[in-house]
Symmetry: C2
Subunit: 187 residues, 2 copies
């Protein structure tokens, strides 16, 4: 499964317009840091994420996670790298705009506020619910399973973290791959 | 020199009102993370800072630096801690609201946009000018001298960093101390 160039471009344009409404000042050229992650699933509108990287160094990451209405990002964790003495990425997730919910280990929500796509739900193993409404936040420790999903309005979420190690991320769902594949538009 | 309780409270109230206008959603209870740093100088309106800490862990810091109009924060650096294998705090400074300028090593600005208090200026040794207008940002490497000052409007600046080590900060100006001393109001 892959995205067409047209789908990729449309998601990027939607995300850039949406994030302008979030109250965060952005420079025109920052659009160059905007990526679309469909996780190789080819179902971007239900599963995936738009990511605007503001900064990424050996010691920190600052990104905006931009979610389409109801868009789901699958369960994953940021594992340690013992060779570097790195315990794994610590990630502050903080709501900036719209509605989203984060799920982490702990008491499961009796009635979760969002519903993952049914064919992905089996890979959601943690159900403790954290609202990422504007101003709400949660520090996700290294190597801790978590997943999130937007409500009907879509959402912009801050991801402020220690060193970003995206390619090392582990996903519960074996269908997920970390790269987005883009193909030519179908005729 | 010290601040009176009244001065401390007034600065805190001003900062809380000002940061509400910056486009960032904040929860009412986050006011508890708002501190006033007068650096022991007792001249807060010209030299010092209001700091709203959103998160601080072993691996990251997320703060809002809130500057009164023309307020100046003296030259300092975040030194390494060899015992911990820590190179020192890496700090992303990013303009959110208002006007401020950051000064770092490099070609000095021929006509700097701001003027530090005259009796503090001698301790400003780096003069390469970076605008922290909304959306502008700069990653300040560990152990690198820097200082900043707001323009006439005041400013809100993001400080997104690796582990915060405020008490280890080194200041060029020997009069600076890292603690704010508060005294009872004078009669």
């Amino acid at each position: 499964m892959a995205l067409t160039q047209r789908e990729y471009g449309q998601a990027r344009e939607w995300a850039w317009n949406f994030v302008q409404r979030s109250g965060l000042p952005l420079l025109e050229e920052e659009i160059s840091g905007l990526e679309v992650a469909d996780l190789g699933l080819g179902e971007l509108q239900t599963t995936g994420l738009q990511i605007l990287t503001l900064a990424a160094t050996e010691w920190l990451g600052a990104k905006l996670l931009i979610l389409q209405p109801h868009q789901f990002f699958p369960e994953h964790r940021h594992p340690p790298n013992p060779a570097e003495g790195y315990p794994g990425k610590t990630e502050l997730l903080r709501g900036q705009y719209g509605e989203a919910f984060l799920y982490v280990p702990g008491d499961p929500a009796p009635q979760p506020k969002v519903t993952p796509p049914l064919h992905r739900r089996t890979w959601c193993t943690v159900w403790h619910e954290i609202s990422l409404a504007p101003g709400n936040q949660y520090v996700c420790p290294p190597n801790t399973w978590h997943w999130f999903q937007a409500g009907a309005s879509g959402a912009v979420i801050w991801s402020i973290s220690s060193k970003v190690t995206d390619t090392a991320d582990q996903f519960s769902d074996p269908q997920v791959v970390r790269q987005t594949r883009i193909v030519e538009n179908s005729p």
